[in-house]
Symmetry: C2
Subunit: 177 residues, 2 copies
DNA sequence: CCTGGCATGTAATCGGTTACATGATTGA
DNA sequence: TCAATCATGTAACCGATTACATGCCAGG
């Protein structure tokens, strides 16, 4: 995951490890935390694989600049257009890079995400009605207020995600609030 | 984390490891995934610490039942009322167990969560206006549509969370949709 | 009979954090 | 001068996943 984020960030241009961390923190940082302890080894792996190249600078700070190589760009684009297994965050991170994708692939992927999400929503709605039924039969439903509230949270969350996905699929003007 | 979830689930009563997994999957499972490979060792650790006890059943399936001991209940309640460091999910999981807490502690914790959330919201709103400013100065702002969209996602997400937190703090009737 | 669910557990491995070590530069 | 930020890197450790191994029981 981190390796692809790094490749994706380097699509913009040459950067140092330190700058890469700052860029990650201030963009996909809401969903993904990168520490130096994972970042530097990842950069080394990518260099070893020949996906990025490093240039040493002589600015005395021992700064090293990483540049995306053609193979790296290919690997990144292949990952981006490919299937996303698991992790809700992964989809968000992919979408962050969707400007690099053609409209057709974007539509396909967003359609897939929407489909999966709607499935999960239906599952959770089913759970909700089961819980509601069980709650109606016990004498003290108020004792389960917070348990049930996290269910509502999940529902709200999925609903919000669905509306957002639909909006960006149609490339609507996004206006928060 | 898993250890506390296990203790929390055992507050309801005696259960087997297998049942604990099912219970976790169908409740906090939206935020937290427990695999057998982490669950069984965790149960062993809790038993070694004397927080839970296990009773072997003779129903031939080799089923083992775990029961919360007084020390375990204490450890759980202490964790629940204590400070939550990091992880957005942890707060949600704690709230799931909030029915076990007294109203005063709940109000304190929910107030803290709300405070942190509002801070993050302000930070993200600041980022948004910076980005909006930068976007206005470039000739091709449409090339950054998806990058910006995840920012909006974050904002929507925090806003939803804020509304939800405020609602449960006032113990409002939660009506999804 | 045989599949699917019940039931427990271990070992290899992985991705990541935390803490540490080192040192240069910049600006109050 | 001193703190903050820039800048790179390693090692111990940790929590968890994945895959595997084992075996019982119920229902179609």
């Amino acid at each position: 995951m981190l390796e692809y984020i790094l490749l994706g960030m380097l699509m913009e241009g040459t950067m140092s490890g330190y700058d890469l961390k700052k860029t990650i923190d201030s963009s996909v940082g809401i969903f993904y935390k990168a520490s130096f302890g994972s970042l530097y080894p990842a950069l080394k792996r990518l260099t070893d694989k020949g996906l990025i190249s490093l240039t040493e600078t002589d600015n005395s700070k021992n700064k090293k600049l990483y540049t995306l190589l053609p193979g790296g760009q290919e690997a990144f684009l292949t990952w981006l257009a490919g299937p996303s297994q698991g992790a809700r965050n992964e989809q968000l991170i992919r979408i962050f890079f969707f400007d690099y994708l053609d409209e057709e692939t974007r539509q396909r992927l967003l359609g897939e995400y929407l489909f999966k999400l709607e499935q999960e929503l239906r599952t959770l709605e089913a759970v909700k009605s089961i819980v509601a039924g069980e709650l109606a039969e016990i004498p003290n439903p108020e004792d389960y207020y917070y348990r049930v509230s996290v269910l509502t949270y999940g529902l709200n969350h999925f609903e919000m995600e669905k509306q957002w996905l639909k909006a960006i699929k149609e490339r609507k003007n996004l206006n928060h609030e």
